[in-house]
């Protein structure tokens, strides 16, 4: 114990070099931990994104490309699946459920996914967890939209608000589908998957956006600007006059946002007192929407055969679809049949298998990253060794004095090695602190840019093991100067020639 206090006092005397060494170690430890944490979290984010899906079917491209584009919204599909093929495959024996997916549009940088109600029913993530709503409900007609939790949070969207979907990917577009504002009816609970960053709309809405004639490109920026919308709203109001119930969504929107339309509101209210009730009863009577207001958007709504008919419209193609089967034993055969599908070149992948393939491809990169960070740690430890050895000569006198007051050579050895251990330990502690600071800083960016959710959790066993290895290596490094000091102290005695 006395030796350790002696060691720390001796180090205090050499603050500058010791502190530098300590920082080198701390930074390398931080680097190693961060790289490892990001690597692991990235992997688990990916694995948690899709679950309970037996097959993903898309146009023929690459397995990994299809997986990345359909589920992770990374990259994009080059081709699509015709609606007829989808219907045909959906009707085959052994198919339990399907979720059609139509991608390719965006809302302020968030992916827009066109689907139907099967999505909310059958989509699973993590360990077969279902999607839950924090607020609202699933969409039931073509003018309604459900947001992922991140989208709602980041854009400060609330239920009842209206948004406009832009054409194409990217954070804005010069082709807003302005004439087709959609009402937010649901916000999903956070999942830690790309679902959080997705705007879910009915397939019919996507078709409607793409089929109607394009108006002149508008300037980018605020699609909800009252000025830019005046004309549209007037249309809607005219429409309200004729259909005086069930449009609570639009009404709410006006209330909360468009102060400029106060005059119209008055007009509206005097005319149409049923609205207030409409708000509460929206859920119950909204199935009919798609049919009785044909002028709001140019949806070519066919007479729907059932409740959800108006969600789908008449799409010609979808990007991909997810499939669940009656039994996993069918997977292999159905997959083969889809891959050999005669009417259209299609590709079916098993998400689990493709994900493993992806890991195998990335495995090398992972190993290289780990190697690099390990080398950085090694270099920092070697730096410590160099400093210790370099100062050893200057400290011969110190050691000799210690010897003269009764320290035995093994005391000198302990003194020197405990110095290395102290530096490594302090370096590791500081490194861990820096690591948490860095994670806290980078959390938001990683989540929004790459969809990797980092959690500030305790060190895992693996990370503790890494720290242990670093400590052991540091201790080993300390032995070298300690041994030299041991022998110096034997041979030197007091006779130092200055």
């Amino acid at each position: 114990m006395r030796l350790i206090s002696l060691a720390s006092k001796s180090m205090l005397n050499r603050k500058a070099s010791v502190l530098l060494t300590l920082f080198t170690i701390a930074i390398s430890v931080m680097l190693l931990l961060t790289i490892e944490r990001v690597r692991q979290e990235a992997k688990s984010s990916f694995s948690n994104t899709v679950s309970g899906t037996d097959l993903i079917v898309g146009a023929r491209s690459g397995d990994i490309q299809l997986l990345l584009s359909s589920v992770f919204r990374i990259g994009h599909a080059n081709n699509s699946v015709s609606w007829d093929s989808y219907q045909d495959i959906k009707a085959q024996r052994g198919v339990s459920w399907t979720i059609p997916i139509s991608l390719g549009d965006s809302h302020k940088g968030h992916a827009v996914l066109g689907t139907n109600s099967a999505y909310f029913e059958h989509f699973r993530y993590g360990k077969k967890q279902t999607l839950a709503f924090t607020a609202g409900r699933a969409f039931v007609n073509a003018q309604e939209v459900v947001l992922g939790s991140d989208v709602a949070q980041k854009m400060h969207y609330q239920l009842g608000q209206q948004i406009v979907i832009s054409h194409g990917m990217g954070n804005t577009s010069f082709h807003h589908h302005d004439d087709n504002p959609m009402t937010i009816v649901g916000i999903l609970a956070p999942t830690g998957t790309p679902v959080d960053k997705t705007v879910h709309v009915p397939l019919a809405a996507i078709e409607a956006m793409h089929s109607q004639p394009k108006s002149t490109p508008r300037m980018l920026g605020k699609p909800k600007q009252p000025a830019g919308h005046k004309h549209d709203h007037q249309d809607e109001h005219g429409h309200h006059d004729s259909h005086d119930h069930g449009h609570a969504d639009k009404h709410e929107h006006h209330d909360s946002h468009d102060q400029g339309h106060a005059d119209k509101h008055e007009h509206h209210d005097s005319h149409d007192h049923g609205h207030a009730d409409g708000h509460e009863h929206h859920d119950s009577h909204d199935h009919g929407h798609g049919h009785d207001k044909p002028d709001t958007v140019a949806v070519a709504v066919p007479a729907p055969a059932d409740l959800h008919g108006d969600l789908i419209g008449e799409p010609k193609q979808i990007t991909a679809f997810l499939m669940g089967l009656d039994s996993p034993l069918y997977t292999l055969q159905i997959r083969r049949n889809i891959n050999n599908y005669k009417a259209e070149p299609l590709l079916a992948i098993m998400p689990g298998v493709t994900l493993r393939e992806l890991w195998r491809m990335l495995g090398l990169v992972e190993k290289i990253l780990l190697l690099f960070s390990a080398v950085v740690v090694l270099i920092s430890l070697l730096g410590m060794l160099t400093t210790l050895l370099a100062t050893l000569n200057q400290r011969r006198r110190e050691l000799a004095i210690l010897r003269s007051v009764g320290a035995r050579p093994r005391h000198i050895f302990t003194l020197m090695s405990s110095e290395a251990i102290l530096i490594t330990a302090a370096g590791c502690t500081l490194g861990i602190a820096l690591f948490y600071a860095l994670i806290a800083l980078a959390q938001g960016t990683l989540q929004s840019q790459f969809g990797i959710s980092l959690s500030i959790s305790l060190l895992s066993h693996y990370e503790l093991m890494l720290i242990g290895v670093i400590m052991a290596a540091g201790t080993l490094m300390g032995i070298l100067p300690a041994t030299r000091a041991y022998f110096y102290s034997l041979s030197d005695g007091m006779s130092i020639k200055l």
């Binding site: 992997k43 688990s44 085959q92 009656d326 039994s327 034993l329 292999l332 055969q333 493993r356």
Partner: protein
């Protein structure tokens, strides 16, 4: 209770894929089946519709070697997979008939590094029936252990 423990401790019976086909049943060669009715309605779910199972295997402790086709899992472990008799069943060759696939579930999962390596799965075999248009049967296994296959 004691009996129970003993039953559990008894070494699982080592079986092979042939043991999953009832004696006397002539399994249609899968390659032929796939070639003749390719994309055919009959063929959509499985090439050999009445591929029968060995009922006596139900509830037996067995160990069976094969290849893994992962279904569920996280970044570390696989919790649910199909065990198939040859590698690549999921990729380029016609898939095996249903009585040559075992749907394995393993609690807590098992880390599997390479899908190219054969493994031996130990667990309780179940003959499961489920309803589609036709009642179907197949093998399921609640696995307790997985070991690399020793050549």
């Amino acid at each position: 209770m004691l009996f129970c423990v003993q039953a559990q401790a008894a070494p699982p019976k080592e079986i092979f894929w042939d043991d999953l086909i009832p004696k006397g049943h002539v399994q249609i060669s899968n390659q032929d089946a796939a070639a003749s009715h390719d994309g055919d309605q009959q063929n959509w779910v499985q090439p050999d519709l009445d591929a029968p199972v060995v009922k006596s295997l139900d509830g037996k402790q067995v160990s069976l070697p094969g290849f893994v086709v992962p279904l569920e899992g996280d970044s570390e472990v696989i919790t649910e997979f199909l065990l198939v008799p040859y590698f690549g069943a999921c990729i380029h060759v016609p898939p095996p008939p249903p009585n040559q696939i075992v749907h394995v579930k393993i609690k807590n999962g098992v880390p599997i590094d390479s899908l190219y390596d054969a493994i031996t799965v130990t667990g309780t075999m179940k003959v499961a029936t489920w309803k589609g248009d036709l009642a179907q049967t197949g093998y399921k296994m609640e696995a307790v252990g997985v070991a690399p296959f020793e050549l």
